[in-house]
């Protein structure tokens, strides 16, 4: 695949065929706990997308210019976590100060995102799959959009679920996990459509 097309392929793969949430089950906890309302899900999803795109890029720079030259790749777990935490904290402070609207829409979700494993997962995948900087950025962005898509779908289903009759034993987390499973199976239908390996 050409230099130009590969990042795009990775981008779309991250959204559909290799959806971080539905194929790797990363970012499950906030996915399950915040997917009750469409509006809040959208807020969280957009915040995740933004943080994913930016932290993946930052982590790529840190990894390739700081860790690789000193052969400290094994430190990537802890380094990535610190970078993500610090970045999220900084962004939250900036948003809170300068944009009330944005803070209300996204800012309150930022502390949740620090501990969202999808963020760390994407940074680690980028290393394992040896993506270039541009590809990594699109991989992060695509993963975020994929996560947004999944949580929006989930929230839509859960909003309708309120009027549905659910067996007592399955109420709450039970039915949510069953639905997540079905959604993952549906996304399996995309498998093989984009070949990125």
């Amino acid at each position: 695949m050409s230099e130009f097309l590969f990042p795009l392929a990775v981008f779309f793969a991250a959204i559909f065929t290799n959806n971080i949430l539905l194929t790797n089950y990363l970012g499950m906890c906030s996915f399950l706990s915040v997917s009750k309302e469409l509006e809040t899900s959208a807020g969280l999803g957009i915040a995740v997308t933004f943080v994913l795109a930016v932290t993946t890029a930052i982590n790529w720079v840190v990894y390739h210019f700081l860790l690789v030259p000193f052969q400290l790749e094994y430190l990537r777990f802890i380094v990535f976590i610190i970078v993500i935490a610090a970045f999220v904290q900084l962004i939250e402070m900036v948003i809170e100060r300068y944009s009330e609207g944005l803070y209300f829409a996204l800012g309150i979700f930022l502390p949740l995102i620090t501990v969202n494993c999808a963020i760390l997962g994407v940074s680690l995948f980028m290393v394992i799959r040896e993506y270039s900087f541009i590809t990594s950025f699109f991989f992060g962005l695509g993963s975020g959009l994929g996560w947004l898509l999944a949580i929006l779908a989930m929230a839509g289903i859960r909003q309708r679920l309120r009027t549905a009759k659910i067996p007592p034993g399955l109420e709450g987390a039970g039915i949510a996990l069953v639905i997540a499973g079905f959604m993952a199976m549906a996304f399996m239908g995309f498998t093989g459509m984009i070949n990125i390996s």
Binding site: V62, F70, L72, V79, I82, Q89, L90, F104, I108
Partner: protein
């Protein structure tokens, strides 16, 4: 080998330092809201560091807003009216704020951050509310299911209260609760004993606080309480008073009566105390002593189901019947009631039948 170790330590330190430096700079620039002014009830002005939650800012300045969750936005108790400088509601506040409260600009003070000058309104009584660190001086059994807990105030060392008021007792995390919770208990101690608080706590099966006190609390333990709160205290009139209580409802009335005895109150007092059997009665000696100390006080315990082994010679029957039978001059007196909602409602009905106007019936219902 040592060199690589050294380098890895160096690199990780470098990253941490750079990030920490960034945070410090951000804190001093982006996160620095300067000093802001909080005006409380148009009369008190506080200068606080901006950017912190209102609850914390007030707390640091010694104005204590009751909160059960400690500022996590999960109890919805720390509501404060923000008159000026409020801005919009945060999504984290909305679940706790009703339409009506919204139009009054009631905010959740643990979520609302003070970033500019604000004017707020809080109930006057909150000015005297403090948070106290105390240690358990003694615990004794009053009955088979009621314990008296005596707390010694450490910081601050003194409380200014009215007899009959209550405090909130903080239950720390333990097997029945995964976050600290607060429960209200009336103080049984006399206000002149400013260094101590006495509580009478009845064991309620699976009650979070009562189980903690009965099964876990030991002498010497540290307990956080805050208060005083409440409008249940002796009104300053010269009317006769009728007290009615059941179970641990004894606490505020004991405090009121002790306070009256200390101030040599000339008022006539009758105290009807309802219990099921003889083993539910307590503080009988203290009450006898009060009868001697006070000018005209009678303690009238009544058992609804006296057992043969009680050898009971006192009043029997439901407390409402005993009050109906024995209360004198009720239409001219005041009443102070403390107990379960069922008991209080029944007693209020009886007192009204006896000619007591509703506005002279004061009560403290267990919630």
């Amino acid at each position: 080998m040592i060199a690589t170790l050294f380098i890895s330590v160096l690199i990780i330190t470098l990253i941490a330092v750079v990030l920490a430096l960034l945070m410090v700079i951000a804190d001093a620039t982006v996160g620095n809201y300067g000093v802001v002014k909080i005006t409380i009830n148009d009369k008190k002005e506080l200068e606080v560091l901006g950017g912190q939650p209102l609850l914390k800012a007030l707390n640091n300045e010694g104005v204590f807003i009751p909160s059960a969750c400690g500022g996590r936005g999960s109890c919805g108790l720390c509501k404060v009216q923000v008159l000026e400088g409020g801005g919009n509601y945060l999504p984290t506040e909305l679940p706790w704020i009703s339409e009506e409260e919204r139009s009054d600009n009631i905010r959740l003070s643990c979520q609302f951050k003070v970033k500019n000058d604000v004017a707020i309104k809080i109930p006057e009584e909150l000015f005297s509310v403090r948070q106290f660190t105390t240690t358990v001086e003694s615990i004794r059994d009053l009955t088979h299911d009621i314990k008296e807990v005596r707390l010694k105030l450490e910081d601050p060392p003194e409380i200014e209260m009215k007899a009959g008021q209550f405090i909130q007792f903080q239950v720390p995390e333990y097997e029945l609760t995964d976050e600290p919770v607060y429960r209200a208990y009336s103080m049984a101690s006399v206000p002149s004993d400013t260094n101590h608080i006495e509580l009478e706590i009845r064991l309620v099966p699976n009650g979070i606080c009562t189980t903690y006190v009965h099964k876990h609390l030991k002498e010497g333990d540290t307990v956080m309480v805050n208060g005083p709160y409440g409008e249940f205290f002796l009104r300053d009139t010269d009317r006769d008073i009728i007290c009615i209580a059941g179970g641990s409802g004894m606490a505020p009335l004991k405090s009121i009566l002790l306070d009256m005895a200390e101030h040599e109150s000339p008022r006539t007092a009758r105290y009807f105390f309802g219990a099921r059997t003889g083993k539910d009665l307590f503080l009988l000696d203290e009450m006898k002593e009060l009868e001697e100390r006070m000018k005209d006080f009678k303690f009238i315990p009544a058992l609804s189901e006296p057992q043969p082994e009680d050898n009971w010679t006192g009043e029997t029957g439901l407390i409402t019947d005993v009050v109906k039978r024995m209360a004198e001059n009720a239409s001219e007196a005041e009443a102070y009631l403390c107990g379960s909602p069922g008991m209080i409602d029944a007693c209020v009905k009886v007192l009204k039948e006896l000619g007591m106007p509703e506005e002279r019936i004061y009560f403290d219902k267990f919630a």
